[in-house]
């Protein structure tokens, strides 16, 4: 978190414009990807989410300045998403593994 006194933390405008262009490009990409005909549903979801994660990451890194911040900001920025993944993973572990239950006794 160092560097919040003085002017050192004022980043060049180009950082922001570049980020904006990336975001716009990705927006176009995600909309276009949404209209690819006849792709399996899961693939559509994976593409959409990958692009969303990408977009979110550059917002966090550049607009929210995490890239330039100390460990603590990284830790906090990561913790929320990490915990969300834990929740998703464990809840889905239940749904996904339900059909695995053996049918005629345990496999010996």
């Amino acid at each position: 978190m160092a560097g919040h006194s003085g002017e050192s933390h004022v980043h060049p405008v180009s950082l922001y414009t570049r980020t904006l262009w990336w975001l716009m490009a990705l927006l176009v990409l995600t909309v276009v990807a949404g209209y690819i005909p006849n792709i399996p549903n899961w693939l559509g979801v994976v593409i959409a989410l990958t692009i969303a994660v990408w977009k979110a990451t550059i917002v966090i890194m550049n607009f929210m300045h995490v890239r330039f911040s100390g460990k603590l900001a990284w830790l906090f920025a990561g913790a929320g998403f990490f915990w969300l993944v834990i929740m998703l993973a464990f809840a889905f572990a239940d749904y996904v593994s339900r059909p695995w239950e053996p049918f005629h006794g345990w496999p010996e």
Binding site: V10, Y16, V31, A52, F76
Partner: protein, 276 residues
Amino acid sequence: MSIQELGKQSATLEYTGEVHHHADGILGEQFETLEQQNTAYLIGMWAFIVQEVLFFGAIFTAYAVYRFKYVLEFTLAHHELSVPIGTLNTFVLLFSSYTMARAVRAAMQNRHTKQAFYLLLTFLFAGVFMVNKYFEYGAKFEHHLFPNAYYSAHEIVEHAKAKGELRVVVEDGREMYELGKTIRGEFKPFKKVSPEEFEQRTKLFFGFYFVMTGLHGLHVLVGMIVIAILIGRALIDHMKNKPIADYMPVEMTGLYWHLVDIVWIFLFPLLYLIGR
């Protein structure tokens, strides 16, 4: 360890002649230095963002479970959302994130008018977003897609029929919906549901749609109020010819605003795009 050494170790908390901030009323009484105060606020904001991520994350989890379970019904319901409006809103919100970042930058550079200008832009973009949402919601109400007692899947069925993604069949005198796809003029059914089930499940989709976008919209609204206050303060400071003594309020609002943006970055594809 000697006390002298300790003094060095804790150099960050040495008094640095910033005492005058007390007079300005900027430095909270509980803090020693401005830097301490600023980092405290930043971490505080981040902790709040962590909280927000899990707050929205829980609905995303629930949404994921049902989207997984009722893919076809949800897909047809997806089609009722307008991708152009959604895209426009995403565009607007991404842009507002940019102007917000510029406003923070201006504040750090101590430039009132520039800061006010970018804040105003942000505010306007947010306004466009809300106006869009207003019309979008209005249309859903009109078409009985708001999940209250008047909800009806009628339009979804009609649209899906027209697109060849749904077929009504009569079995034992009962109407049934077949969901599927028309490929080269031939209807290929994947799933058959009763009209009641179809209604329930698409209603579930719109339930999620309204809860998620509603909570998000609420966040936008709160952000707009805060931004308006900031604009006012910047202008007053400008008229009184005072320097921007404290850019933290703008910076924190910025963090919050980017978070609102990120939530939308996920909402947009999950609600509007997938299943096209």
